[in-house]
Every structure is written in C-alpha cells, then in structure tokens.
Amino acid sequence: MAELARDTLREMQLRMLRIRAFDERASKMVKRGHIPGTVHTSIGQEAQVVGATMALGTGDYMSGNHRSHGHPIGKGSPLGPLMAELVGKATGVCKGKGGSLHLADFAVGSLGESGIVGSSIPIANGAALSSKVLNNGKVALAFFGDGAANQGVLYESMNMAGVWDLPMIFLCENNQYALSTPAHTVTSGIISERAAGFGMPGIRVEEGQDVLAVYDAVSAAVARARAGDGPTLVEVITYRYNEHSEGLKLGTDYRNADEREAWLKKDPIVLFRQYLASQGFSEEELDGLQATALAEVDAAVAFSDASPYPDLSVAFDDLYTDKESVA
C-alpha cells in the first residue's frame, strides 16, 4: 500500500462525507417533493466511489450511471451546481436540462452520467481512445454496476480497449443487486474473472468498504494505463444502504434485514475515521471534516434555493451547436 500524504487522506474522508451528506439531503428533498423525479444514492458505497475517483487525476476522464451523484462529487465537482441541477435550476451544472440521472461536469473530467444501464461505458472508452491518439497521458474510467456487467457493450468495449491498449479502467460497482434482482441470480460466473478472456487483468476488491483498498487497486490500474500497458477491470464489492432509488418501495424481501445490518457495521466512513484516528488525526479535525461537508451541502442547497428556474425558452437551446438546425 502506498504511503499517502495526510492531505490526501483527509481529502478522501472529506469527499466520502460530502457524498454521504449530499445524498442524505437529496433523499430528504425527494421525499418532500423538493427534487422532482427520483435520485439514486451512493450511501454505503462512498469508499468505492472515492477510492476510484481519487486514484484519478483531475484531468482524467470518467463516465457514470444512474447512481450518479457520488461520481462527480468524488471527482471534485463543486456541490452547488450539482444540487441546483437535481432541483432543476438554471444554475445547475447542466443548466437544469439533465437532472440527477445526467450530471456531467466537464471541468473535472466528468463526461456524464447515464440513465441507460451500460450505455456510458463506451463513452469513457472513447475518451481513452482520444487520449491514446492525442497522446496526452490521460486515463479514463467507466463506472457501472453489477447489473450493467451483463450488457454486451461492456465486452465490446473491453475487447476494443484490450486490442488498442487503451488507458482505460472498467470499474464495476458490485453492490450485489440490480434494482430488485440479486446479482447471483442473473450473473453466470464472476465478473472480475471475465477480464482474463479479454486479455486484461481482473481485480476483485473484496474489501470495497475500505477506501484505501479501492484506492490501491484503482491506482495500480491507473499506473498500468498511464504506462501504456492497457486496460484493467476492477470489481469492487460494496453495498447500498438505501432502496434502489428514493421513494421506491420494493416488496418481496429481495434482500434481508440481517444482511443490511451486517453491512452497516462496516460503514466506510466510520471505518476510515477509525483509521485516520489511528494515524494521528485528532477527533476535532475529524469532526471538522464532517462539519465542513454538512456546511457545504447547506451552502449548495442555499445556492440552489436562491437560483431561478430556467426560462421556458432555453428548452430550445443546446441541442445543436447552431440554432438554425432546429426545425
């Protein structure tokens, strides 16, 4: 395990706390009708998200999926425009046109979250291709779930990345369920073991609630990619605490309460706080991080609240680069 600077460790915890606080707030706002539609939280999966995003540089690229807020937050996107986007405000990171499912912040290399399962994987692959062609040293990472791992486009992309030695990381967030469907009932074989047949290393991070374990695995993949040695598939075992999406009530006990309890005991933020304490971070400092995250979320909500809804007319902008093309 690499020796990490104190600043890096602090930043890891801060980003996990940000995701937690942001998503807890978003969950409340959905239930109160302050956010239209729904959101999918990353609560419980913060280690997996932050371990992966912090292994990337700010200039590196990333694509994501419907469980979408953690990715840009992990990549360093400011919270205000993200929150405003969820609410549908003109100051949203996508001007209110995207919403929770379609966050994107190109300023931090976030090429967009996708509401279509699996669909954004080749987008990151293409970013890796452009890095290769332009020889600019950037790396790209695609986040996708255990459910998405059964979409064929993943294997097309892995093969292409393998053949062209693209600087690419396929990051499977295996939270063991796709909506109501347990992964083991719809997955033949083991996801990380699918890598070998496509000529690349496949790594399974069993300790997916340990941000450093994820960080190390992804850092190794990033190093491999940056060295020109090609892609890696990293599967991280994790767990979502909440229902698939906020407000949704699934029945038929597709996962049991005991299991959830067991996972709650391995909370990534609690675990890492213990680790940080063992590394000499003071309780005060650690409490401070939490307070910072909460304050940032408060500020983000305030920013959103103070922002206007978009004017009706802007619905007709941004489809094309030129306006005349619109019929």
Partner: protein, 342 residues
C-alpha cells in the same frame, strides 16, 4: 364490470393470457418482484395474484440486464413454440435491442418465406412527463412504424389496455405495445371477463362533425378535453383514437375526415417522421378533395426532453395546444398564446 386502472388492466390481461395458454411466459428485468406492477397483486409474494407463486420460475423469467439478448431470445423462443410476453419496462431501453427488433423479429418470417411465425409481445412504458430527463422519456413508436413486420399498439384507456393486450398475445405476429405512464392511474369500468379488442380497429372517442382530431396515447384525453371545450363555442369535434398504429385503421380516419373536412393530429412523439406525419400524408393523398383546411400536427417539438419541470411541461400536446390547433382549422380567433408544444 369493475373499476380498473390502466396498469391493473395490463396485469389482468397478462394473468388471463398466462392462464389461457401454457406457452405464454413472461420475460423481463425485475418481473419476479413485480417492480412495475403488472406481474403480481402487490408488493409481497403473499398478496393474492403474485405471478411467481402462480406460474413458477419456469414461466416467470427474471432476466439479467441484457435487452438485446432478451429480445433475441424471446424471438427464438417464439419461433420454437412459446408465446413470450417481454417486459422491457421503459420504451427508452428498446434501442438496446434494435438490431433484434428490426433484423430478426420483423424480418424472419418474411425472409424465411413464411416458415417462421413470431408470436411475441414486447411491452414497454413511455415514461415521459415525469421529470426524469432525456434518457427515460422517449416515445419512440414512430421509428418502429417504419419497420414492416411489426404490429404496434398504443392503448389510451384501461379497457383498451386489457383488450388489446389479449389480442396481441393471441396474434401470431410480433406486437410492440407502447404504454403511457401518464395513463397508468387512469380508471374506468372494465369487463373482468376475458375480452379482446381487435388489432387494427380505431375507436371513436367522441363523435363530431366539424373537425377530426386523431389523437394517440396520452394525447387522447387531452383531445377529448379540447373537444369538450370547443363544444361550448359550437364547434363539433370528432376524436379518433387509432389504438393500433400498425396496422392503422385507415378507413376510420379517412371516413371521419371525409365527413368533417378538417384534420388535427395530436401525439406525444417527436414531430419529424412521426405518426402524425403519416396520418397527415395519408389524408393528403387519399381524400385531398375533401380537405377544407390545412392539416395541423400537434406534437412534441424536435427537441430532447429537458429535466427541469419548468421546461418539460411545455413539451407535449395539451388540451390547450390541441384546442388552439382546432381553432386554427375552423378559423376561430386564437386565444392568448399557448406556451406549448409546436
């Protein structure tokens, strides 16, 4: 008769079809847990009507997220003795399986000289108007209308949802069903016994003599509401709901427009090359001489669907935008401008 919602009417049709014929199976993501409300009585296995309890895992096939593989497998199964109902949840996911729809499902029977038949139903819900952004909100039925070999239904009422689905399952040809989430909770009296609404037969939702409005899916109630509004001003509007888009009940449409001489077509799909274009072109070719006014399309604009509620609300035909179009073809003065779909 019993009061049924659009969504429960679909569930009822599925149950009847499963009961009637062992070859009918259900394939789809999250069908086991009844996530979308058409494969069970409620949220729990113990609630009466749970499909998994009733039909077992052999006939309720909860799938991986692999739309292309699912649609292709359903096609292969249909060619070899089963009659699958495929639940694709949202219409925006159909693109994942486009090759299978166009190149296998639609073409096989023809290419193989009639050796194959393809008794399979693909259900999906158009999830628009619900602030979920561009990915989930598509209404892609027009592109499937351009593919010969598919049949397409788009029910607008609970009774039609039930009766058309039964006919779809009984059809030996592939049928795509486009359901509208905006109509899920609509309720009406529906026969709890089995019945079939034939494919290819339009429904006259409201009779009238001055203008014909052909309306599709969730535009039907908007059109009826507009018609009621205009009735107050003495304009008699006939509303035709084709219900089946392929085969289209051309005669019903032509007969109505021949009578009224005026046509407005309303649908929630994008404008260019939509069903409204087809219906307009049909009329302009077949009964041009009966026409007494321009044919107006009231559709979603050629624009992707924005997330923000403040933006999305203006994207689909409404009572107001349909009424404005009717006013135009009967030469009534426009009301205050409608900030609505073009």
């Amino acid at each position: 008769m019993t009061v049924m919602s659009y969504l429960s009417a679909i569930g009822a049709a599925q149950r009847e079809a499963m009961d009637a014929d062992d070859r009918v199976i259900i394939i789809g993501e999250d069908v086991e847990a009844n996530v979308y409300g058409t494969t069970g009585g409620g949220k729990s296995r113990s609630i009466e009507g749970d499909f998994l309890q009733r039909y077992g895992k052999n006939r309720i096939r909860n799938t991986p997220i692999s739309e292309e593989g699912i649609v292709g497998a359903a096609a292969g199964a249909a060619m070899t003795g089963l009659r699958p109902i495929v639940d694709l949840s949202y219409s925006s996911f159909l693109y994942m399986a486009m090759d299978q729809f166009v190149n296998q499902v639609a073409k096989n029977r023809y290419m193989f000289g009639g050796q194959a038949s393809m008794p399979v139903v693909f259900r999906s819900a158009m999830f628009y108007g619900l602030n979920t952004g561009a990915h989930h909100s598509d209404r892609p039925y027009p592109m499937f209308m351009n593919v010969p070999g598919l049949k397409i239904i788009a029910p607008a009422t609970p009774a039609d949802a039930k009766g058309l689905l039964r006919s779809a399952v009984d059809s030996d040809d592939p049928v795509l069903s486009f359901e509208a989430c905006l109509l899920w909770s609509t309720k009406e009296d529906v026969d709890e016994d089995e019945f079939w609404v034939p494919l290819g037969v339009a429904r006259t939702a409201r009779e009238g003599t001055d203008v014909t409005v052909v309306a599709i899916s969730s535009s039907v109630p908007e059109a009826v509401a507009a018609a009621e509004e205009l009735a107050k001003e003495g304009v008699s509007v006939e509303v035709i709901d084709p219900r089946t888009l392929v085969p289209l009940d051309r005669n019903a449409i032509l007969r109505s427009v021949a009578k009224t001489g005026r046509l407005v077509v309303a649908e929630p799909a994008h404008r260019t090359c939509g069903a409204a274009a087809e219906i307009s072109a049909l009329v302009a070719e077949e009964i041009f001489d009966s026409l007494r006014a321009p044919i107006i399309r009231v559709t979603a604009p050629d624009m992707q669907i924005p997330f923000s509620p403040s933006l999305e609300k203006q994207m689909y035909p409404t009572k107001a935008s349909i009424a404005a179009a009717i006013r135009r073809v009967v030469d009534l003065p426009a009301l205050e401008p409608v900030a609505a779909a073009v």
